[in-house]
Symmetry: C2
Subunit: 323 residues, 2 copies
């Protein structure tokens, strides 16, 4: 099993290190946070004294390097990878893919890279918030770009499966558009909803129940991480916010003019049903040998809601929702 070297041991990186070790893979990590490093060592994990040391070892052992820092630190880490392990197997777990892909192309043209993004998290952050089971049952996007090789994609996808996730094949741009809608806009909505509720004073907050608690939960996340994530996906997020402003404005207009929210409520209900249908509906399975010709096909299946649930001998088992 290929060794795993995780750079960044916060919620996501710390959980990847635990899950990779749990899967029986040689695994070590490094972090700029002394607090996270100490906590990881105290839990029995292998955390060399520096990122340089961790990367040198990755080069020696031909390990998979996993960049698990916030987007704002990615460039600095990639520079270190370029210095110490320029031919590395490389993936990342950063919440946007286009900007990371561009950095890798510029700084690490020799890396065997496929970008990743596990769709799991919590309002907590840091090593202490992580767990080996964080990715169980979660989606984990693995990007297929021009120039992505089957080998590099399989390394990133295998890590995702080893962590208990299923793999959603996608392009970086399609990923960024999608997460703007289903991850970054929810953070903006949570912040706005929390503020409008709080503007109602203590009475409003004391009457808040499940709908407000659920709708504002992620507003409790570390503001620095939320900003790194949302601001890092600016163009796609602007599109999603514009769509939201349009729909909210239409709801406002309908409520003001006719007193009805029928269209808003019905459309939202249907959309939520589609989400639940995708999670629980019937699925067809197909198997695909992951060679260069198969990569565009995998991406197309991802676009249609498909996911890779197993990999063996270079062959992917893909589940696709019934139409």
């Amino acid at each position: 099993m290929r060794a795993v070297c995780v750079i960044g041991l916060g919620l996501i990186g710390g959980s990847v290190l635990r899950a990779a070790a749990n899967a029986g893979r040689p695994a070590w990590g490094a972090t700029a946070s002394e607090e996270d490093a100490s906590a990881a060592r105290a839990a029995g994990f292998d955390v060399p004294t520096s990122t340089e040391e961790a990367l040198r070892r990755a080069a020696e052992q031909d390990a998979l390097v996993v960049v698990a820092t916030p987007l704002t630190a990615v460039r600095a880490v990639l520079r270190q990878v370029a210095w110490h392990a320029p031919q590395a197997w490389l993936t990342d777990v950063v919440s946007v893919k286009d900007p990371v892909d561009a950095e890798v192309r510029s700084l690490l043209p020799g890396a065997r890279y496929a970008g990743g993004h596990p769709m799991a998290g919590s309002a907590e952050s840091g090593w202490g918030a992580g767990s080996a089971g964080l990715f169980e049952g979660a989606a984990w996007a693995v990007a297929i770009e021009e120039g992505t090789t089957p080998d590099a994609w399989l390394e990133a996808a295998t890590l995702a499966l080893d962590c208990g996730a299923h793999v959603v094949p996608t392009s970086a741009a399609a990923h960024d558009d999608a997460v703007a809608r289903v991850s970054h806009l929810p953070h903006v909505f949570a912040a706005v909803l929390a503020a409008v509720g709080s503007d109602g004073g203590p009475l409003a907050l004391s009457l808040a129940a499940g709908s407000f608690r659920d709708g504002t939960r992620v507003a409790g996340s570390d503001p620095a991480l939320v900003r790194a994530m949302t601001e890092g996906n600016r163009a796609a997020l602007l599109d999603a916010v514009d769509d939201a402003l349009g729909r909210l404005g239409a709801a406002r207009g309908s409520l003001a003019s006719t007193g009805s929210l029928k269209s808003t409520v019905d459309t939202g209900h249907d959309a939520r049903a589609a989400l639940e249908g995708l999670a629980t509906g019937a699925r067809t399975t197909e198997t695909i040998a992951v060679d260069a010709a198969a990569l565009p096909r995998l991406r197309e299946l991802g676009e249609r809601g498909g996911r890779v649930v197993a990999l063996a001998d270079g062959t992917a088992t893909v589940e696709l929702p019934d139409a």
Copy 2:
């Protein structure tokens, strides 16, 4: 203990009937839904054959009548109450208070009424979704209006405490403004967020995780109930939607012009912290004899985040968050 007659046996009314019976109070109910009536009878509850019959019995036993129908059915039920039990002790559990208050004043000038609203629910509806424990630990607004008598207020507040909730004293108008922000706007946001996510197609929905699931959960609620609730609080909800449009537009402008969401994210984080602080922070206790002079004081304490946690011999124990 005063008997309780619940009209409407859906999620909320059905839970009130169970909780009142659990608290040892004589309790019966009626509903226009044959399905809910059969299910309640099968569970051993006392459900007379008609609303008329239930209300006649309420008049005979000087029971507290609890109107637990959607807002759209309230007028018809109040007409029946006016016919069969015009002097009734009366409360309701409808999600807006001003419109119900106005109907009661017009149709039932002799009723001993104080309006209520338990802040609990789920995305499910109907008798089968209810439970005796639904209101445990929940806030339950009980309105104090011009003309509300201490006796009527105590009857409604006692029911809330018997159901395991704490009581938030408020005016109908302040309640309606507050719930527009913390209950009705969350439903509009959930619907809009679900639609914008679904517009991203199967790929977006297959990448949706906790933030999207939480933010869209209440979009799964029965559209008819969501519309009755939100459309019934039109004026206050329009104000809340306008505030939300303003904040969302400001976030959009800042992201587009400077690339920053600092103000939006920080404000949302502080607001969420205020919510958590109110739930878990230190509280001071005071006791108040509930007479006519005390009612405005109770309402003022509610405005400041206060809540009644016990009632004994006409004296309320009020907890107030430390400033």
